[in-house]
């Protein structure tokens, strides 16, 4: 909008000033004010029209993706053509207006006129192209930043951990013999979890109730693997159920808790999950048995990757309005995510 407006101001100002200067010079040289005013208003009008037409042609040419040199040659040619048309129009109109009098246009005067027109149109074109090209560049950069932003977010949107995936399939394979009914249930849950991950409709957030269902499925599958080693408490405040969360964010917190609180401890442990709404924020808290060991480099390099990933997603989606904090004490590690409540 602003750009379009700016363009017309520029158009009017440039040709207005150009015509006004021409008028002043001609009047000073002793011409008829009435006739000169008329011819310069006409000049203003057709120059504006011609340059506007030129702009359309430039845009058309640019849409054909010319090289830099091609575009410069095209612009130079355009300036030449337009200034010639302007010169012819000026001379023709002058001749018509001064009908009956002997034409005072020598070749030298016409050349000087054309030179003036050429310079005027050239400057118009240079300024216009500069501004237009900078705007295109800016648009391209913004577009690219958005694409990068979206790609970052997509990359961070936790995919199912392949380790979990294959271990679960292996457990289910075992269950098929031991407890066929339970195996059926697990296959259904597994399908639900996969579906949630595969067709998320390019949405960046989902209702918490939907996320909670998937976390239930995830926990049921992990319970098959960990058996008695995993003990879970899971509560969702009914007021929080409809609030929006980034998909797989609670799941990622729970997975992280299981990795540190259960998988690494031969005796297993407890995981408690609470979702509440308070003070305009959705609070997701996941606690697990264990000690939080800061930056302990492990061979598989998994330390903190899960949590950093969550942090980065929150930052991309909510800026500094969301947070992830870790607390450690009394043999319990608590991870808390705060997400602003959005409509």
């Amino acid at each position: 909008m602003r750009n379009k407006y700016g363009y017309w101001i520029y158009q009017t100002a440039w040709w207005g000033i150009y015509a006004a200067i021409g008028l002043a010079v001609n009047v000073a040289n002793g011409g008829s004010l009435r006739l000169l005013t008329f011819s310069h208003i006409l000049f203003f009008a057709y120059s504006l029209g011609l340059s506007h037409l030129f702009r359309k042609v430039i845009e058309w040419r640019r849409s054909r993706r010319p090289t830099f040199v091609q575009m410069r040659l095209f612009l130079g040619g355009g300036v030449l053509v337009i200034s010639l048309i302007q010169t012819i129009l000026v001379i023709s109109i002058d001749t018509v207006l001064n009908a009956g009098q002997a034409s005072s246009w020598t070749l030298g005067a016409a050349g000087a006129l054309w030179y003036g027109m050429y310079i005027g149109t050239l400057i118009w074109t240079v300024i216009y192209t500069r501004v237009a090209e900078r705007r295109i560049q800016e648009e391209r950069e913004t577009h690219m930043q958005q694409a990068v932003h979206t790609a970052e977010l997509r990359a961070l949107e936790a995919q199912i951990n392949p380790h979990f995936l294959f271990n679960s399939l292996n457990s289910i394979r075992g269950l098929v013999v031991e407890n066929p009914q339970k195996a059926q249930d697990m296959i259904t849950r597994f399908a639900a979890l996969l579906r949630y991950n595969l067709n998320r409709d390019r949405q960046h957030t989902v209702p918490l109730s939907q996320e909670a269902e998937v976390v239930e499925d995830y926990l049921a599958l992990e319970a098959v693997r960990f058996e008695g080693r995993l003990r879970v408490q899971f509560t969702v405040d009914p007021a929080a159920e409809s609030l929006q969360v980034p998909p797989m964010i609670l799941q990622a917190l729970v997975e992280n808790a299981l990795k540190h609180g259960i998988a690494k401890r031969p005796e297993g442990g407890d995981v408690s999950i609470h979702a509440t709404a308070e003070n305009g924020a959705l609070v997701l808290q996941v606690e697990n048995t264990g000690e939080f060991a800061p930056v302990r480099p492990t061979r598989d390099g998994d330390t903190q990757i899960g949590l950093n990933n969550i942090r980065e997603r929150l930052r991309l989606l909510y800026g500094d309005r969301a947070s992830l904090s870790l607390k450690n004490g009394d043999g319990v590690v608590a991870a808390t995510v705060r997400i602003p409540i959005t409509a």
Binding site: H163, G174, E227, P266
Partner: protein, 228 residues
Amino acid sequence: MKAVIIDDERLARAELRRILAAHPEIEIAGEASNGDQALALVAQTSPDLLFLDVQMPGLTGFDVLERLEDIPQVIFTTAYDQYAIKAFEVNALDYLLKPIAPARLASALAKVRPSTGSGRLERVFVRDGEHCWIVLLADIVLLESDGNYTRVYFNGHRPLIRRSLNALEAQLDPAIFFRANRQEILNLKWIDKVDLGVSGGLVATLKNGRTVEMSRRQSGRLREILSL
């Protein structure tokens, strides 16, 4: 052939046991659900073959191997190929991805060789930073003492292991490994040529290009061995 199954998941162990039922030559001597249990089980049953899960609570599969003196043949089992490359690097017999395909298990078992039963060390586990190897003794060119540690030269690598040269010597086959001097034990099969050194002792040039000087006493012994 005796095998043990080491995996933290009961269902995974049960599943492996079920598909192993098709291979009656494999006798399952026991199961362990974590590294410590595994160490006790191996000490107690001296199996020929380990089915070893890589990711376990407490000690990982690699930690278990590092703590075993003599390494049986190892087939890794893992849910995801994250460790597959590492398993190859350690020169494991094979690795199986869970869920395990019965045909894949059969081809892994086809690589199992009956142990010599000599009671001698056949393989050692070596870890050097991020790299792990299960080294067949036949591949070892030279063992070099480095304080309480021993540097092992094989296939162009030369990592340290946490055992003294003297402790290792007691477990080596004297028909293959020869004590050259206080510092070094060489593999006779890797000797390229033997020359007389300036100090009167013998100097062996190994196939990897390294030269080893025998002590005076050992020069005599080497002469005996080589003339035979």
